[in-house]
C-alpha cells in the first residue's frame, strides 16, 4: 500500500457516510467588481505602511521621479520596462539571466505592476515582461514600482479576478517589515527597505 493510498483511505474512512456533496457557502461578502477603485484610498493605505507615493500627472514625469530617487546609482530593470521611465542619470542593468549576487549588488530596481488593491494598499506583480523575475524586485534595497491608475481595483476579490494563478505572483504591501519584536511593526528586514510607488494615468 502506498502512502498516497493509505492517507486517502484514512480520509475516506474518517468521512464515513458523510455525503461528499459541496456544502452551501454563504457568499454575502462584497464580490469581485464591487466598490470603486479609489486611487486616493490606495495612496493613503500605501503611505500608512511607509511606502512613498509619487503621483504623476503624465507618464513623462516618471523619469524625473526615478532620477530623484535613484539618480547616480545602478538599477536593475526587467527586459520589458518602458525605456522612457529611466532618466539618463541612472546606470540601468537589464536582467538577462543575471545571478542573484549580481542583482543583490545593485542599488535599486524599477518595475511596473500588474494590479493594485486600494483597500489594502497592495501592489501585485505577476512577473510580466515589464516586471521581470521575482528575484529582481526582492534583492535590491530600493524598489520603484510604476503603477498605471487603471490597474487599481477596490478590493482583494477584484484583484484575484484580474490576475492569472498560473503566473508567479508577489503581493507587496509596503516595505519589508516584521512584527516579531513585541508585536510592533518595524520596517526593513530582508526585502527592499524602501518602496516607492509612482502612479501615472494610462497614456
Amino acid at each position: 500500500m502506498t502512502a498516497r493510498d493509505l492517507v486517502l483511505g484514512r480520509i475516506r474512512a474518517a468521512l464515513g457516510d458523510t455525503p461528499a456533496v459541496p456544502a452551501e457557502v454563504p457568499r454575502g461578502y462584497r464580490p469581485a467588481g464591487s466598490g470603486a477603485a479609489d486611487l486616493d484610498l490606495l495612496v493613503h493605505r500605501l503611505a500608512d505602511y511607509r511606502a512613498t507615493v509619487h503621483r504623476c500627472a503624465e507618464e513623462g514625469e516618471v523619469a524625473q521621479v526615478v532620477h530623484r530617487i535613484l539618480g547616480g546609482r545602478r538599477v536593475v530593470i526587467p527586459p520589458g520596462l518602458p525605456p522612457h521611465w529611466l532618466p539618463d542619470t541612472v546606470t540601468a542593468v537589464t536582467d538577462e539571466n543575471l545571478t542573484a549576487d549580481q542583482i543583490a549588488a545593485v542599488d535599486g530596481v524599477v518595475t511596473a505592476a500588474a494590479v493594485a488593491v486600494a483597500e489594502t494598499g497592495t501592489i501585485i506583480l505577476d512577473a510580466g515582461p515589464d516586471q521581470g523575475r521575482r528575484m529582481i524586485s526582492l534583492l535590491p534595497d530600493v524598489h520603484v514600482c510604476v503603477l498605471r491608475t487603471d490597474q487599481v481595483v477596490a478590493g482583494v476579490s477584484s484583484a484575484l479576478a484580474r490576475v492569472d494563478p498560473r503566473r508567479p505572483l508577489t503581493w507587496i504591501s509596503g516595505p519589508s517589515a516584521t512584527s516579531d519584536i513585541e508585536l510592533n511593526r518595524v520596517e526593513g528586514v530582508h526585502g527592499p527597505r524602501h518602496l516607492h510607488v509612482v502612479t501615472v494615468p494610462r497614456a
Binding site: R10, P168, H190
Partner: protein, 475 residues
C-alpha cells in the same frame, strides 16, 4: 495491525512536538511564577488586540467573510479526498512533484531524502507550523543537514536554543532586551555595540542572513493555502525571508497539512481578507507569494509538495472535532485568551498553544496523550468570537473534556448524585444534610484531606438557612 491500515490514525509518539513533557497545570504553575514572561505577553497581546480590532472595524462585511470562510473550510473537509487528488494533478501538471506522508516520521524521511538527492548540507526554512510539528529540524540535523530558520522570531528561538511559544510570533515571550542578549551571544560577527532598538535588531538579522539567502540551494517552506482548482500554493509573510526562500534556491520543498487545501481561486480571496487582519492586525501582510508548480526561468526549478496526515485523519473522523481542521493559524485566539496571556505558549507542551492548541493537539495525538489541555481554559468564549473562521472552540473543549480520562471517584460521585436526584425523599434528606456542611468551616476551609486540596483554591458556598422546599411548604 494489518487490518487497521486505512483507518484514521493519530500522530505517533516519539517524533515531533505535539506532546508536552508534563501536564498543563504543572507547566502553567511554573510559567505563572515568571513575572518577566507575563509582562512580555501582556504587552504583546494587548498591542495586537488593539491593532487587529482597528483594522477589522474597517471591513463592512467582516461577519459575511467569516461565515464564508467557515463554510468553505467545512466544504473542503467534506470533499477532502477529491480536492487533494485535484491539487495533486494540478501541481503535477505544472511541473511539481507531490509526495504523501502518513505521519511525521515519513514526512521527515521524504524531506531528508529530497535534500540528500541535491547534495546540499544546508537548507533554509520559511517559518512553518507543519515542520515544527513533525520535528523536521531535528531529523535534518540527525542526517547531517543544517536547517537555518530565516523568520526573525524563529531565528531568535533557534539562536536562543529555545522553543516557540506562539503560532505567529514564536519568540513572543522574549522582549527586545532579551533578543539583544541572544544576538550578542549567538550571532557570529554581530556588532558588539548593538542596541535593543527593534530596527537595529531587525537590521542585524538582515546582515546575518543575507549570505545564507544568496548561497543556499534548497529551501523548505510550509503553505498557508493550496488551491485545488489551480495547484497554486500561497505563503503569507512579512519580512521577505519567505520570498528569498521561495525564489532564490534551485529546489523548494513545501510541507503542508492536508487540511490546508481550499477548492477554488476565488475562495482564496476570502482568506486573504480574513488572515492578515485577524493575525498581525494589518490590512495586508507585507508579502504574499503564490506559485503554481515550476515557472521556467523564474524561481526554483525543482518544486516538491509533501502532503502530511500525521493525525489529521483522526481529527476528521470526529464530526464535532473536525472543525479544528478549519484553523488558518492566525493566532487570534491566543491573543485574546486570558489563560494564554498568563501562562504563555510553552505550558501547552505542543507546538500548537492557546485555545486552538488545546483542541487541536489532543485530537492529533489522541486525547489520552494531551488529557490536561481541554481543561486549559475558562470557557469564556473569547476565542470563538475572535476566530476568523468561527471555530467553536468552547464547544470543542467541552466535547474533548468528555473524552478525557476521568478519575473513578468522580464517576462514583456523579452516579451517586444522579441516583439521589432521581429519588425525591433521598433528595430532600440530602438537602437537609447539606446544612451539616457548616461543620466544614467557612467556605470549606475546615475540610479534611483530600477535600482540603479541592477547597484550597475554591470556595464552598455557604448553605442557605432553609431549602427552597422548606420555604415553599411554610408559605
Amino acid at each position: 495491525m494489518r487490518t487497521f491500515l486505512g483507518m484514521p490514525a493519530t500522530a505517533p509518539p516519539g517524533v515531533g512536538h505535539l506532546r508536552g513533557e508534563e501536564p498543563f497545570p504543572a507547566a502553567a504553575r511554573r510559567a505563572l511564577g515568571d513575572a518577566q514572561l507575563r509582562r512580555n505577553l501582556r504587552h504583546a497581546t494587548t498591542t495586537i488586540r488593539t491593532k487587529s480590532g482597528a483594522v477589522i472595524g474597517e471591513v463592512p462585511d467582516w461577519q459575511q467573510l467569516r461565515a464564508a470562510g467557515r463554510a468553505i473550510k467545512a466544504d473542503a473537509m467534506a470533499r477532502l479526498p477529491e480536492l487533494l487528488e485535484q491539487l495533486e494533478a494540478a501541481v503535477a501538471a505544472a511541473g511539481g512533484t507531490v509526495h504523501w506522508a502518513a505521519d511525521a516520521a515519513e514526512a521527515n524521511r521524504i524531506v531528508t531524502e529530497l535534500v540528500r538527492a541535491t547534495g546540499a548540507d544546508r537548507v533554509m526554512k520559511v517559518k512553518s507550523m507543519a515542520t515544527q510539528e513533525i520535528g523536521l529540524n531535528e531529523a535534518l540535523e540527525a542526517a547531517g543537514i543544517e536547517p537555518v530558520e530565516t523568520d526573525l522570531a524563529e531565528l531568535i528561538v533557534q539562536l536562543g536554543h529555545d522553543r516557540p511559544s506562539h503560532i505567529l510570533v514564536p519568540a513572543i515571550h522574549r522582549n527586545r532586551a532579551e533578543i539583544r542578549e541572544i544576538f550578542l551571544r549567538e550571532m557570529p560577527g554581530v556588532d558588539p555595540d548593538l542596541t535593543d532598538d527593534p530596527p537595529a535588531l531587525a537590521a542585524a538579522a538582515r546582515r546575518h542572513l543575507r549570505q545564507t539567502f544568496l548561497s543556499t540551494r534548497v529551501a523548505v517552506s510550509g503553505a498557508n493555502f493550496a488551491i485545488a482548482e489551480t495547484g497554486t500554493l500561497a505563503v503569507v509573510e512579512s519580512e521577505g525571508n519567505g520570498r528569498m526562500c521561495l525564489t532564490l534556491p534551485d529546489t523548494l520543498i513545501t510541507v503542508m497539512g492536508i487540511e490546508k487545501v481550499i477548492p477554488t481561486w476565488d475562495d482564496l480571496g476570502v482568506f486573504l481578507q480574513l488572515l492578515p487582519r485577524a493575525s498581525t492586525g494589518e490590512r495586508m501582510n507585507p508579502y504574499t507569494s503564490m506559485w503554481t508548480g515550476v515557472t521556467p526561468g523564474d524561481g526554483p526549478q525543482q518544486v516538491h509538495l509533501v502532503l502530511l496526515d500525521n493525525g489529521r485523519s483522526a481529527v476528521l473522523a470526529d464530526q464535532v472535532g473536525r472543525q479544528a481542521l478549519h484553523c488558518i493559524r492566525c493566532s487570534a485566539c491566543l491573543n485574546v485568551c486570558p489563560v494564554y496571556e498568563r501562562t504563555g505558549g510553552h505550558a501547552y507542551g505542543s507546538v500548537y498553544p492557546g485555545p486552538i492548541g488545546a483542541v487541536l493537539s489532543p485530537q492529533l495525538t489522541g486525547v489520552a496523550d494531551n488529557a490536561s489541555l481541554p481543561y486549559a481554559s475558562s470557557l469564556c468564549g473569547a476565542c470563538y468570537d475572535a476566530c476568523p473562521v468561527m471555530i467553536n472552540i468552547p464547544e470543542l473543549l467541552v466535547h474533548l473534556r468528555a473524552q478525557a480520562p476521568h478519575p473513578k471517584s468522580e464517576a462514583a460521585a456523579m452516579a451517586a448524585a444522579a441516583y439521589t436526584m432521581d429519588h425525591p425523599a433521598l433528595y430532600a434528606a440530602a438537602q437537609r444534610a447539606a446544612k451539616l456542611s457548616k461543620l466544614s468551616g467557612p467556605r470549606g476551609r475546615g475540610l479534611p484531606p483530600p477535600l482540603s486540596g479541592w477547597a484550597a483554591s475554591r470556595d464552598l458556598p455557604e448553605p442557605p438557612s432553609q431549602t427552597f422546599r422548606q420555604w415553599w411548604a411554610e408559605r
